[in-house]
């Protein structure tokens, strides 16, 4: 039995013209829900996942048997309270947890699509996920939220569908992917493509996988999700199961061992081609590009109420980049709040149990729902 057989998905018949020009139709979109949709259908929240996330935002992920990536946020009495709200999270197209992506099988050839998958954008991801509103017969969401690439999807969602969500909470993100972030993504992609098992993207035809390259990509990316201070406090120069250095290239230091482990478990759950496609989508994200570089114009028609959240130690999507979104919304006199949460945990903070972050989110959603 395929590990994806038991996960929920819809087949989207409506064709979608991607930004690259290719049109797709009859494609699967895998999703998960938490809580119950009320009769008025006004308690739905759409959560967008980050680069390596999936639809299993809370509870146990049935494929990896790990806790959902936003377990601290979603659940009974939590920030997104499943006693009150209906939470929908989909696997993005391009992903590898059941939605249409490079590891999907092409019906005509019967083979995995691999590198023949079209290049997608954040806009394409959002346009695919909007179909879930029709599926659940929801006219307007209460909230759209997500961190990192999830936050970019939030921004894109409000820009493309200005009247489809009452509130929006973009977290630790940017309206335009920076040169530094493109550089890190390119590093990851080059690591994958340099692996001889990548086979120009056709590794699945030979039943192999560029695990070494993908693992290195993950290790490099993982460093960018943490902070110097966080790393120093957790690992410092501590040695890994030894009393002294061994004068070799084995993992002497705990940080080395930790990164190797993070790389090794990642390759079991993530497809290398998906990593290429999704990082590319992030790199192409530049919301103001089609509006003469004026971010305010992007949100001109929006009545959505915003709370933007950043973290002090996040150097991947720093406060300044989050603030640019605040400034753009402010220039429109939009209803926008902003909070920079104090944390030493770097970009990963949005996934962690940080009371100031979780409380702000809960209060904002609950207060907005009441009104």
């Amino acid at each position: 039995m395929n590990k994806f057989d038991n996960i929920k998905k819809i087949i989207i018949n409506k064709s979608l013209k991607l930004d690259c020009g290719v049109t797709i139709s009859n494609y699967p979109l895998a999703y998960e829900t938490y809580g119950n949709l009320n009769q008025n259908k006004d308690n739905a929240i759409m959560v967008f996942h980050a680069l390596t996330g999936d639809q299993f935002a809370s509870g146990k992920n049935p494929v990896t048997s790990k806790d959902g990536w936003w377990s601290y946020v979603i659940g009974p009495d939590k920030a997104l309270d499943t006693n009150k709200y209906f939470i929908i999270c989909a696997n993005v197209i391009g992903g590898c947890m059941g939605s249409y992506g490079p590891s999907s099988v092409d019906e005509k050839s019967g083979k995995k699509i691999g590198i023949n998958f079209p290049v997608i954008t954040i806009n394409d991801m959002v346009n695919a996920q909007i179909n879930l509103l029709d599926h659940f017969n929801i006219k307007k969401l209460l909230c759209v939220t997500g961190g990192s690439m999830g936050g970019m999807q939030v921004l894109q969602f409000v820009a493309s569908y200005p009247d489809k969500s009452k509130i929006a909470i973009p977290i630790a993100c940017s309206a335009s992917h920076s040169a530094q972030n493109i550089a890190f993504n390119e590093l990851g992609r080059q690591a994958i493509m340099a692996d001889e098992n990548w086979k120009n993207g056709n590794y699945e035809l030979e039943n192999i996988s560029p695990s070494k390259g993908l693992s290195v990509a993950r290790m490099a990316a993982h460093i960018t999700y943490l902070s110097k201070k966080g790393l120093q406090e957790k690992f410092g120069r501590k040695l890994q199961e030894r009393d002294k250095i061994k004068f070799g290239f084995d993992a002497d230091f705990q940080i080395e061992s930790y990164l190797r482990y993070q790389g090794s478990i990642f390759v079991d759950r993530f497809d290398a081609n998906s990593y290429l496609y999704i990082t590319r989508a992030m790199d192409y994200f530049d919301l103001a590009k089609n509006f003469d570089g004026n971010l305010s114009k992007v949100f001109k028609n929006s009545k959505t109420k915003f709370l933007i959240i950043s973290f002090t130690s996040d150097w991947l999507y720093p406060t300044a980049e989050n603030r640019e979104i605040v400034i753009a919304l402010n220039a429109l006199n939009a209803d926008v709040g902003f909070l920079e949460v104090k944390s030493d945990k770097g970009h990963d903070s949005f996934l962690l149990d940080i009371p100031d972050f979780l409380n702000a989110m809960k209060n904002f959603v609950d207060n907005s729902h009441k009104k």
Partner: protein, 198 residues
């Protein structure tokens, strides 16, 4: 709610847009939101206070007025409030010009350094005044630019700022300030409340 906030609120017309600069824990904002206008926003530097505002369901931007007022468009609010914060800025003059640019009317309140207790404090003790409205020592006060009611009035005249309403507050009693009683009010008032326009 403290008397100062009641006076500020009474100066605001219903359903007008309001920006509270240095809104603190949002007490005044909440009152305005519930009684006068839902079109109210805040700007606050303290993370703890921003949390409290969000808890109250208020829209607040975490930021520093001296930097972040720049991003607000001109004439975007009917009222801008600055309550007992002017003296804490590095460049109060710049902040005032931002207030006037953003708001049609600005409501500025200041702790009066000309208050007789403050004067006596300095006169007799010979040390920097510590009073109810100025509770800090010189070495830990956030106040960088203290001024008196008379200083503020003079400033408005000099800068040709339309100061169209001046109130004095002492022991929860409000009175008007005019050019005839300015010296007296400057001596007897703890707090000055000013409505200014461009």
């Amino acid at each position: 709610m403290k008397e100062e906030f009641k006076i500020i609120a009474s100066s605001i017309q219903k359903n007008k847009s309001v920006l509270d600069v240095g809104c603190g824990d949002g007490e005044l904002m909440k009152f305005i939101y519930e009684n006068l206008s839902e079109k109210i926003r805040g700007l606050e530097i303290s993370k703890e206070n921003v949390q409290k505002c969000i808890q109250k369901g208020l829209t607040v931007i975490e930021g520093n007025a001296e930097i972040d007022l720049q991003q607000f468009p001109s004439n975007s609010f009917d009222y801008v409030i600055l309550s007992q914060t002017l003296q804490a800025f590095l460049y109060p003059e710049k902040v005032i010009s931002d207030l006037l640019r953003i708001g049609k009317t600005s409501i500025v309140t200041i702790p009066n350094f000309g208050f007789w207790k403050v004067r006596l404090n300095l006169l007799f003790s010979g040390t920097m005044p510590v009073t109810k409205t100025l509770p800090n020592e010189w070495y830990n006060t956030p106040n960088l630019h203290m001024c008196s009611i008379k200083d503020f009035v003079n400033f408005c005249n000099k800068r040709k700022i339309n100061l169209f309403k001046s109130l004095a507050l002492t022991n929860n009693k409000v009175s008007s300030i005019n050019k005839f009683n300015l010296n007296l009010k400057n001596l007897t008032s703890e707090l000055g409340i000013f409505l200014i326009e461009k």
